[in-house]
Amino acid sequence: MDILRIATAGSVDDGKSTLIGRLLYETNSITQDKIEALESASKRKGLDFLDLSLLTDGLIAEREQGITIDVAHIYFSTPHRKYIIADTPGHFEYTRNMVTGASNTSVSIILIDARNGVIEQTKRHFYISSMLRIKNIIVAVNKMDLVAYNQEKFEAIKAELLGIAEQVSFKGQTLQFIPISSLYGENLVRKSAETPWYEGATLLETLEKFSTQNSELSTIQARFPVQHVVRPKTEEYHDYRGYAGKIASGTFLVGDLVEALPSGQISKIKTIEKFGTQLEAGNAKESVVITLEDNIDVSRGNMLVKVGEQPESRKELKAKICWLDSQMLTVGKTYLLQHGINRVKAKITNISSVIDIKNMSLSNEAPADGGLKLNEIGWISVKTASPVFADKYEDNPANGSFILIDENSNSTVGVGFVE
């Protein structure tokens, strides 16, 4: 069984909770006691209907304010596959949480209220989904019941978003528009009789057809970051030395010639193992132990790659960065840069431009106050203390991103996409 990871973004007003609630309900993923708990919580709030946002807004502060603040993870299954929804907030103030939630997904559902059309928030969701290179975008035009299932209204929204797509979309990204009503369940699981002019699939049918990210990751250049060296030192495994890790991308085969980075030493893959079972191949996202024919110098944070497929060794990176912390990113400051599992000291040498995510306009000048603020996205240059073996994010998303850690607060303060 495979897993499809989806991000939803939007505010309560867009009907996001209703949409998720209905998907859970229709797939038998919500039980009677949870519904009863919702019922009594709704009554306590003085509502005469079931407030489905209470299902996903799990924090006291969220329920008080009636908004989604942090990412919630929601699970449901169909006979075909398991789904994980990262339900993320839509407010500008919580952009960082949206980026966080969406970073592990391969589908993004952007919700639009048919009455309001494309708003600032829609553009932001679209932009961030594209920045993360989420391949499949579903634009769910919701509340169609409130515009009498008017086709012109739907087409106008579609046209406007396609216009925006010319600026923010990337090659290979698919965009699908579905007219829905979460409230009445139109075109979610069941094809609607109210939209005879719509010939596409329902939301769930569309989701069922997407391929997962893993199959694509396995076809690109192979990267194996070594997490842990397994040395049992028992009698039975006296000389055993295995390199444990999760294959970031590509496929490794037994017998492949590999180079260890940064040492540059070359050896051949002897075995690829999972709990003692020997495999012929290891694919992207699989956690395996690799043993080599020769005793070469490999330790945690090193990377095994196939000979002839080495990534560039860089001590200077240019990257797009989304800032996640209330303390500003400033030029000249030193952070810890974590690329995959490997940490190096890094200094910010330049901030070249900033994108105004509220108005979607790009300023080609350094920010006036000299730094990047919370939720801002910009382009930076970084110098690292030792080489980083990163790919361009667009070529290899699994090996092309990094986080920055503030050594004073230990917090994760930024996420970068290598260019």
Partner: protein, 333 residues
Amino acid sequence: MLYIGTKFVVRNRTGDPVVIPFMSTISEKTTVYQANDSSFPRELEDEAIYILREVASQFEKPAILFSGGKDSITVVRLAQKAFYPGKIPFALLHVDTGHNFPETIEYRDWLVNKLGLELHVRYVADSIKQGKVKEETGKYASRNALQTVTLLDAIEEFKFDACIGGARRDEEKARAKERIFSVRDDFGQWNAKKQRPELFDMLNGKIELGENVRVFPISNWTELDVWNYIKEEELRIPSIYFTHERNVFERDGMIWADSEFINKSEDEVPYKAHVRFRTVGDMTCTAAVASTADNLDDVIGEILSAQISERGARIDDKRSEAAMEKRKQAGYF
């Protein structure tokens, strides 16, 4: 036809929508989807093993919080696989409330012995004796909330900097907001508003001395995933997960296991019944379900058709809507 929404709407014979205020009136769905491919998504195992390997590398002294329940049994299995053919590099910590099911203690000792693990047990009874916590009184008295203090003391005593737990996001709505590496301050407190962003699969476990991290490698598993995994891996589990005859009584519409730890009122008369447990906590906070399931296939079948969620059998969650979030703020896992 029936529909779900913020209000529930059905259509009457003429096709006009009629708003129905609450769920209780609904008995039919447009389409019924139910997972019938019960194979376990192996991607979840790869993810959990990756997390456990990060724990071994990023922390000095990690421990697995082991309760003897199915989720912590799963975590131990994953740790076994993550470091094979090496040994599990974590000790086990069991916070013993003294109200455990004897079957889980028996199982714990069997597993520790079989895998050659290091086990530390610390007792809530000792915390009570030391005057650090006060035993609850009354009909619903439980040591569930008290164990937080014993846990925090044990973390300090052994200097554990990471505690690995089997909590899952699908269990409860506050848990749905948890990170995989959940940083706790000196007092073990969870601050939901100051959680570190977790981007892609990059985990940041950097902490100051005195702080600790709770790690949840099976965050993305559902109850069904855990059962399918136990089945596919052929793991032994405590016998109370299968049907057995037991003295029980009814309270608040739930079946409670009769034990010396529970204060029964006069009208709560125990009787014998065939039951099993779907989730295992203390005897004071775990309800049983009537069941004849004596094998994993039947257990999975029951879960697939259940109308009650797993935590619906947890009396500790029923105290208030924010019961879990409040316990987590105080240092619960």
